[in-house]
């Protein structure tokens, strides 16, 4: 499908958001900052997969987004349990 101007602006804003979160992942002074940045990137990517599905015009990719959202949550909880220690 051909994109309108507003859609290209939206994609640009989203790309800037990804790059800024990436900056926090790289700079983040402590490990928790990096974990939070990775968590945020995971959620942005879940909606990014939906946008790619819309770009390619096929609902097959929505399943990928669904699985990704679920498993990213599981990964974040595992990292949180690790931080928590033997509690």
């Amino acid at each position: 499908m051909t994109l309108t101007l507003l859609e290209i602006v939206a994609l640009g804003l989203l790309g800037a958001a990804v790059l800024l979160s990436l900056l926090r992942l790289i700079l983040g002074p402590t490990a928790p900052d990096r974990v939070v940045a990775a968590d945020t990137l995971a959620v942005i990517t879940t909606s990014g997969l939906v946008i790619i599905a819309a770009l390619l015009g096929s609902p097959l990719y929505l399943d990928v987004a669904l699985i990704y959202g679920t498993l990213a949550f599981v990964g974040v909880v595992a990292i949180a349990r690790t931080i928590e220690g033997n509690g």
Partner: protein, 105 residues
Amino acid sequence: MRLIADLFLVVGAAFTLFGAIGLIRMPDVYNRIQAGTKAVTLGSLCLLIGIALLYPAWWSKLLVIGVLILITNPLGSSTIARALLKAGVKPWSKASVSQPGEADR
């Protein structure tokens, strides 16, 4: 219809960008978690609404994804914040006196 969908997309992307800016500018981990979680949750929901207006046939799966994000994202952030507090990371405060004494129990 296309215009409304595009507006939703732009608003969602803008909220996501605000969340990312907050992630950069906030002074400590807890504030970063707050900015990231709130803005990215609403931003993703707006993006999903925009896509649902563009492709109305996909509404059922988009609804499931939206509810999934709405449930898991605050839960994950709360879990990280709780783990950090239990591990002894003190919140930053402007007066640089850590007033909450209930952190380690």
